[in-house]
Symmetry: C2
Subunit: 234 residues, 2 copies
């Protein structure tokens, strides 16, 4: 395997570049993501990096995909860890893992859900699949709860606005997701509610008001499940 060896070495350097990038990001925030700084870190000239990534944007895209996959991994791991417990407990564990990962990997989270790098726009066809991977964990658990009857839609969340239901049905049909529009709708609602807390926490807008954000988040998760119509206690 002559070409295999070259390819393998190439992949190794690409990984080394990404690791240096993550190290710099962790140390100096998403602002520390400088091509020249990465080159310095691994004793390369700036121009040398262009043989591994066509541009800084391409490198950022790779980092984003990795981050989305790491987040999805964390959610799946939380689900597996709570596998023995009730469906509600599993969902709770997964939703807590969402914030946990964000708090533990702030720069990665900012990279994927903030607007960190000036001028950069993510190519959707590359970044969307790993996003769906993570989101599916949440929606899948909701779907199970709905089918088992542990979760039953109650007012006011029992009505899905027609335009939205139509779009969700289209999405399910087009991409072949094995879930109901109801589960998707609940997933999106819950996602946005929790995402707001994390986003405000990330940029330090909510600690001054609420003090302990972790407690607020947990309360919000529990309340969310209750208002969505969870029948069993958690």
């Amino acid at each position: 395997m002559p070409k295999g060896r070259v390819e393998q070495r190439r992949e190794g350097v690409r990984e080394e570049i990404k690791q240096a990038a993550r190290r710099l990001m962790a140390a100096h925030g998403t602002a520390g993501l400088s091509l020249r700084a990465i080159a310095r870190e691994i004793n390369m000239l700036p121009s040398g990096l262009y043989h591994y990534y066509g541009s800084l944007d391409e490198l950022i895209t790779a980092l984003i995909v990795d981050a989305f996959n790491a987040l999805a991994d964390a959610l799946e791991a939380a689900r597996e860890t709570a596998a023995g417990q009730s469906g509600a407990a599993m969902l709770l564990a997964v939703l807590e893992a969402y914030r946990r990962w964000a708090v533990d990997h702030p720069t990665d989270f900012q990279l994927i859900y903030g607007n960190p790098i000036p001028g950069y726009v993510a190519p959707r066809e590359i970044t969307v699949p790993p996003v769906i991977r993570g989101f599916s964990v949440i929606v899948g658990l909701i779907e199970n709860l709905l089918q088992s009857g542990a979760l039953e839609a109650v007012p006011p969340y029992d009505v899905i606005p027609p335009e939205i239901e139509a779009h969700l049905q289209m999405l399910i049909a087009r991409d072949g997701y094995p879930v109901s529009a109801r589960a998707l709708f609940m997933g999106v609602l819950g996602w946005t509610q929790l995402h707001g807390i994390i986003m405000l926490e990330m940029f330090n807008h909510i600690q001054p008001v609420i003090g302990d954000v972790e407690t607020l988040y947990r309360a919000q998760v529990v309340n969310l499940l209750k208002t969505l119509g969870l029948k069993t206690a958690i």
Copy 2:
């Protein structure tokens, strides 16, 4: 007034600089915020700007304060416009104005709630007051609803976690806010829920899933008020 004339002219140039900055931001995103670009825009040398703002960060801070105040203005205006209607209708109008302003002023919103400028950290003592101004509009309306009896805390949102209640009480005592811990708690909960939608909309993460974000937002606002315990119909 000799010094008044100088001061006035100085203030005029400062305003001109900010307007050029906003123009560039609107055109090229928060990334377009370049000191040299601003200087070019108003036919000045980069170094000249330093007589009006000590640094780019200082200019950004000024823009952020302006943005928070503009947001607060929009919320107050929405409240006044709906002044004749019920308290619930006023709150609904204000919450819709929150997203409206974000959608109409995306770069300003990203400037204050995103992580736009690498390396910049806002000086809290300057930026917090205008934040409170806007937030007070929401919390004030909630307080009125609570006192009039139109809003009554119901499960699960009737319980405030003890640690959070303690922190809120401290805040109220320290800064002398004329509101209850309950109103503040409800305000924060609502704020985070809606903020999540806007944040995800801003960075284009939710349209692909839900289609019409405006409908989702409106539904979320109404559902929020209902689950918080609003007794009257909207």
